[in-house]
């Protein structure tokens, strides 16, 4: 169970990174919520004309205008369009052009590596999203690095003191695979004294800015001293770029699944660089039923396949499959 080691976001960090990105009215309400509740918060949701909501690891709460949390929406503060507009102005530093590429993906990353998801009207241009306008809802997902999230999994990944297995992590959504990858990166990069494992050069290709949580190119999470991050780079390009530019020992990337990802993975294997990656799924059979991924498993490129679930808390290791030995 990971929750026990969770590195909580201190209240001063919360204020600097989250509070100051909200509109003044919402900011004043959130300020009134007790520190304990805020530190446990996972999401803050704003939706025009709907109650302000705060999610923690237990449930979603309606937030009243005095900062009181309740399951009853009656006394909740109703979010105004102005709240969303102002928050967006602040988050983007009043410079839409600086976040335009992120906006196309439906989220922006703010200082601290927190992700703000946005919805509104999508404007298309030649079959591609050109911009989201009239944004009417935002979800501020508070990112918390969990130091030690990968403690249980490291022994499966390490081959000996100096090398590791190509590993695929299969996980349903919300089971902590990104958190785990982040901690794997950190541990591989620092090295693990208990096992006599020496630190490795790690290359993270962070297409969705989730693993390292980069803000202005600088990782906001501790991903270790030997880790290089290509932020917001499509995985297929990023993996080959990384091999050429930074000579990593291991490449870490999240949520593979497209055809071009797979061919990039083959290049990584052929270059003799180790790979640790994850994929959405519930079991090995589930992956085998998907044509693109099936080939990958059939080729036995991954020596270890780790399956996660939520059965004993977020990040439970359900099963470890070995094909390398």
């Amino acid at each position: 169970m990971i929750v026990a080691n969770e590195k909580r976001l201190g209240i001063s960090t919360f204020q600097k990174e989250i509070l100051w990105n909200l509109s003044q009215d919402v900011r004043n309400i959130i300020k009134k919520i007790s520190v304990k509740r805020l530190e446990a918060a996972e999401e803050i949701r704003l939706k025009t004309g709907k109650p302000l909501m705060l999610y923690d690891n237990m449930a979603g709460w309606f937030v009243g205008s005095q900062g009181n949390l309740s399951e009853d929406e009656k006394n909740a503060y109703i979010v105004k369009q102005d709240d969303i507009d102002q928050s967006l102005e602040i988050m983007s530093n009043s410079s839409v052009y600086a976040v335009q590429d992120e906006l196309k993906n439906g989220f922006i990353t703010i200082q601290g590596g927190h992700r703000v998801g946005l919805t509104g009207k999508v404007v298309m241009n030649k079959e591609r999203v050109s911009v989201i306008k009239d944004i009417s809802a935002m979800n501020i997902r508070i990112s918390k690095q969990i130091i030690g999230a990968a403690d249980d999994v490291m022994k499966h990944i390490m081959r000996d003191e100096n090398s590791l297995w190509n590993t695929l992590i299969i996980s349903p959504p919300q089971c902590g695979k990104t958190t785990m990858l982040r901690d794997i990166a950190r541990q591989l990069s620092y090295g693990i004294k208990a096992y006599g494992f020496t630190g490795k050069k790690v290359g993270i290709v962070d297409e969705r800015s989730e693993i390292a949580g980069c803000y202005k190119g600088v990782p906001q999470n501790d991903v270790g001293p030997r880790t290089d991050v290509l932020d917001a780079c499509p995985k297929a390009y990023g993996m080959t770029m990384m091999i050429r530019s930074m000579s990593p020992d291991v490449i870490i990337t999240d949520e593979i699944g497209m055809e071009q990802d797979i061919s990039a993975l083959r290049q990584v294997f052929n270059a003799g660089v180790k790979i640790i990656t994850s994929v959405h799924g519930y079991s090995r059979e589930d992956i085998l039923s998907r044509p693109v991924l099936r080939d990958l498993l059939a080729e036995n490129m991954f020596e270890k396949v780790i399956i996660l679930s939520k059965s004993r808390g977020t990040g439970t290791i359900e099963e470890v499959l070995d094909s390398g030995e």
């Binding site: 602040i90 530093n93 009043s94 410079s95 839409v96 052009y97 600086a98």
Partner: protein, 173 residues
């Protein structure tokens, strides 16, 4: 007699200074319009290549400008950094209001800057750059006109000041 002489000197001095002050308006305006264009070109680089957000871009631009025009950018930057959620357009307008008294601009110049500010920050890169180009070309046109006015008026007001001073002095004597 001594007192009269002193009076004459004072009158001529004051009148000359007034002439120079009026002339200054004509002589400084083209220079300021030029600096503004240079500043907007810097902003274009900040947006197109560095992709810096406005508060940061403005701060950097302000540092390389003379104080009066730099103030326009510095103050906008400060307002945006306060994180009150005001749009760039509003911050720019407030800064312009503050800086305007220190500048020698005409009403039409201010209109150009206000129109420019209205699209500030709120669109994608290409449109931001178009907006900058548009403002720059308008400012260049005003600069040309201002230059003609300067050549016509600067010398005239300077000599007018001196001559009017002498005239008044003579009338008093």
């Amino acid at each position: 007699m001594g007192l009269k002489l002193l009076g004459c000197v004072l009158v001529i001095g004051a009148s000359t200074m007034m002439g120079y002050l009026v002339a200054e308006k004509y002589s400084k305006r083209p220079a300021e319009l030029r600096t503004l264009q240079a500043a907007l070109q810097m902003l274009e680089l900040e947006i197109a290549f560095s992709v810096n957000a406005l508060p940061e871009a403005f701060e950097r631009i302000a540092q390389s400008l003379p104080e009066n025009i730099g103030m326009l950018f510095a103050h906008s930057s400060e307002l945006l950094k306060e994180r009150t959620g005001i749009p760039a357009k509003k911050a720019w307008r407030l800064a312009l209001k503050k800086a305007y008294d220190h500048l020698h601009l005409e009403k039409q110049d201010r209109e150009i800057l206000i129109t420019f500010g209205n699209s500030l920050g709120c669109s994608d890169k290409d449109n931001q750059i178009k907006n900058i180009h548009l403002a720059c070309s308008k400012l260049a046109m005003e600069e040309k006109k201002a230059e003609v006015l300067r050549q016509k008026n600067e010398k005239m007001y300077k000599s007018l000041g001196v001559l009017a001073g002498i005239l008044i002095a003579l009338l008093f004597v």
